[in-house]
Symmetry: C2
Subunit: 523 residues, 2 copies
């Protein structure tokens, strides 16, 4: 595999120069442009990509489990093989540390392998069989079989903050490919070189497995313009997106206004409340240290960063807050992903600083280089928080708001006032059990993941993970963008009535050559 | 149980007179008004209903499987107990036959019992457990458990054409209640008395089981006005709807425009194409007879009525068409559901009659009484069909369009030109196998149910049924409104990280007191 960057889009298995201008990556720590130039595609070239995806669909969606799983494994292996090149380029394009990026690459490769396992196990076909009952009165029952089929070509948008795990070969792409859907991937213009390197690894796997060129396309385009066109393209059947609330809502609207609307899985906005209960304050020192670590890691640029903490009033809570202040004051900024993200963060901080009743209580030092502002900690009280919706706005980066509350009986009102979240975390001791039990039904309605202890910034990739949650955390709370359940976003059920055995799709047939699970009469 | 009609809405367990005017049912066979007057609720009364549903949610959603299943069984038993009253009233309000309504009531009761079984089996919790790995390197893994939780209060709209199975205690209500969601049901003003009788049966079950009054409310309102307000209500978390495309789209738009959008499951519009392949013409006579039976049953007012048939050119196809013409000509109209549905049907027939290249080739006689127009059969050729989208418009009632095609190789183009459908049916013999195999991937993309032989108008209620399909058949192809998978429309996943055993929800706990299936590490 070559790891030279060509600055082109990958359309239908060919590297193609774009016709609509160009863009270069920027090293956020120096604000210097990086080579090479990446050309941006125009509408006709986008049509080529979606047409190729549509043409690839019949063959790709019909791949047998072994071949489809091997394809996913190959992508993972190819990524591992160019690990150092990918990490080096991503480091320069994002300012993220080598350790973080190495971990993210491992996560991305293992995520592909996890979905390969899902494909092999075949549980996602969810086959249900209601056998014929020819002698039933008053009318016989037909043979009816249900399975899940892939939707069709899927558009995926790369995230700014995860150049690997939520980008080119990230969770949306991996789950769509596992479902049998070709992918048209719109690169994030903040890390185009990383996108190309990963696309090379995917392209190599497509070639190795002899799959149609349209199985995976990578496109660079003028951001919103080509993105909106991609979502509006009649050949696209679903969208995966991770990014801002405004970006996700714009995509959701385009998808809704289409002559034939399609599902949008947009992961958008969350401040990930943490509820510190009195019992947890016995270890206020270690709790505060871990909290600040979760707030400041990856410069706070994580969807699950804890941007809101409810802390009891009184000496125990004071101790927690004072220690958090010490850690924030002692911290220093890390390079943020892009100059514009740093600017947005600064304006969010300024906005929150200016709200009545909100105080800045700690501020770290700026880090080395450009775009590395010091983390900020805010404080307010419950009444102020309840009275002002501005205090719920996500500040993407290292900032968090502490809300002091008088007693646990106030928490239900505070929680009910919150918008939907990806996560909610309870810090508690056994002595808080009754309070947690009382709050739990509210927490389930609030978020896609409920943590007891620990911090939300680690998102395990497994079978049970939910990285999702009620609006505006996502545009569709019925699913997850991390973990194996994510495959179901790109599937729909079809029933087959009285189809002869030799015409039935393999997983729904009596022969069941893939040995998938089949539920018969609901058992 | 009393079966006297009071003409009031059921809000939070109380029968309440509405404040916004009134409506009376009409016997469509005579156009006479029926007693009593049904009063229509205003906005404040609607708020009372949704508030009661929200208040009921914590208690109702926490019901144990035995209690929730018993509640559903009770509704079924209570319906059986007032069967004759319900059937008599529904007959007068809809013009449907007693046999059809008796069958529909049985179906409705059995559907409730089927969902009671689903609740008892517990598979819908879909529990996944990724156990902790405290010794994993480089970082330990937390204990993560996933289960499905109910969304919250659900709004259900009654269908005009199924006063029982898709109305008050129909599939949407049954699946929402099974999921743990309280229901606010908006009655269809065409059969208000039937709605009240069924609501009495549900109310009785709520009382018998000691459930909160807000578990189920029935409201009568000025159609679109109160309906749109119900969908926009912030307490409502999902919508079930069966009706027209324009009605479904209006609801979907309101749901999308909310500050917090919600899912809409609207079953809207389908013409249910039937593809007659040459081999099937060996039994052209019986095929034609069954076809006309499927077109004209229930006066054609079924979502799965076959409104489009592709028939080969040549003598075999001629024979089928000629026999279908004979049967239609010999048929007579049955009373349609409402005068306005009959008017819509007539204008659809007039519109299609006026399209270039479309001929009326058969027409039955008008039936007795008002609103019983004779069924109509149209014919055109493939080129005309491909050139004019008007020919795909649903005509709700007994009418169907025959499209003659030259040879099976033309079918792919014809099928690809179709909008999404609830069903697609292939009439074929073993000699057509290769053609069916070639078409099958297209059929899967076209519809939610693929039939081989038989007719689509029977929709079995079971585990494997899909009554759904791509837009505009429904607003959400990822699910079904008939069959047990329908429960998933009202659920979303939540993950619990490191929750102590004594705080874990029952189905996700190690103790697993409900003995539900638990998938551990994906197995």
């Amino acid at each position: 595999m070559t790891t030279t960057l060509n600055g082109q889009s990958l359309i239908n298995g060919e590297w193609i120069a774009g016709t609509e201008g160009d863009v270069r990556a920027v090293d956020p720590s120096t604000e210097e442009n990086l080579d090479p130039v990446f050309t941006l595609i125009g509408p006709d070239q986008l049509d080529d990509a979606t047409r190729a995806a549509e043409q690839a669909f019949p063959e790709y969606s019909a791949t047998e489990p072994g071949a489809r799983a091997r394809f996913l494994d190959r992508i993972a292996d190819n990524l591992d093989a160019c690990r150092q090149d990918v990490v080096d380029r991503a480091r320069r394009e994002t300012g993220l540390t080598e350790a973080r990026l190495n971990g993210e690459l491992t996560r991305t490769a293992n995520q592909l392998r996890l979905f390969a396992g899902v494909v092999r196990s075949g549980a996602f076909h969810r086959v249900r069989i209601d056998p014929a009952q020819p002698d039933r009165a008053p009318a016989p029952r037909a043979d009816i079989r249900q399975r899940m089929v892939p939707l069709g070509p899927v558009a995926v948008f790369g995230a700014s903050n995860f150049p690997l795990a939520f980008s080119t070969a990230g969770g949306d792409t991996a789950s769509a490919l596992a479902a049998g859907c070709p992918v048209v991937f719109k690169a994030h213009n903040a890390h185009p070189g990383t996108a190309e390197l990963v696309a090379q690894a995917i392209h190599e796997a497509v070639t190795q497995e002899g799959l149609p060129g349209g199985t995976f396309s990578l496109v660079y385009g003028p951001g919103a313009k080509i993105g909106q066109r991609l979502v509006a393209d009649p050949r696209i059947t679903a969208v995966g997106f991770t990014g801002s609330r405004s970006g996700g809502l714009a995509i959701a609207r385009t998808a809704f206004e289409r002559p034939s609307p399609i599902p949008v899985y947009a992961e958008m906005s969350s401040i990930n409340p943490v509820i510190v209960l009195p019992g947890a304050l016995g270890s206020a020192a270690s709790l505060a240290e871990a909290f600040v670590g979760s707030v400041t890691g990856s410069s706070g640029q994580l969807c699950t960063q804890p941007g809101l903490v409810f802390v009891p009033e009184g000496p125990g809570g004071d101790d927690f807050v004072n220690r958090a202040v010490e850690h924030i004051d002692a911290s220093s900024g890390q390079t943020m992903l892009t100059p514009s993200i740093a600017t947005s963060w600064a304006s969010g901080v300024e906005n929150l600083s200016g709200q009545d009743g909100v105080d800045v209580i700690a501020r770290g030092g700026d880090g080395e280089g450009a775009n590395a502002p010091g983390p900020v900690l805010f404080r307010t009280d419950a009444e102020t928080f309840l009275a002002n919706g501005e205090l719920q706005k996500e500040i993407f980066g290292a900032a968090s708001l502490i809300v002091r509350y008088a007693e646990p009986s106030r928490l239900e009102e505070l929680i009910t006032a919150l918008e939907g979240q990806l996560t909610v975390t309870v810090q508690a001791a056994p002595s808080d059990r009754d309070d947690v039990a009382t709050l739990l039904p509210r927490l389930e309605r609030l978020a896609g993941r409920v943590l007891y202890g620990g911090w939300p910034t680690g998102v395990e990739v497994g079978h049970a993970m939910v990285h999702g949650g009620p609006f505006p955390a996502t545009s569709d709370a019925r699913t997850t963008s991390v973990g194996t359940l994510a495959i179901e976003r790109f599937l729909r059920p079809v029933a087959y009535q009285d189809l002869p055995e030799d015409l039935l799709p393999a997983p729904a047939s009596d022969a069941n050559p893939w040995s998938v699970g089949q539920s018969v009469d609901g058992k």
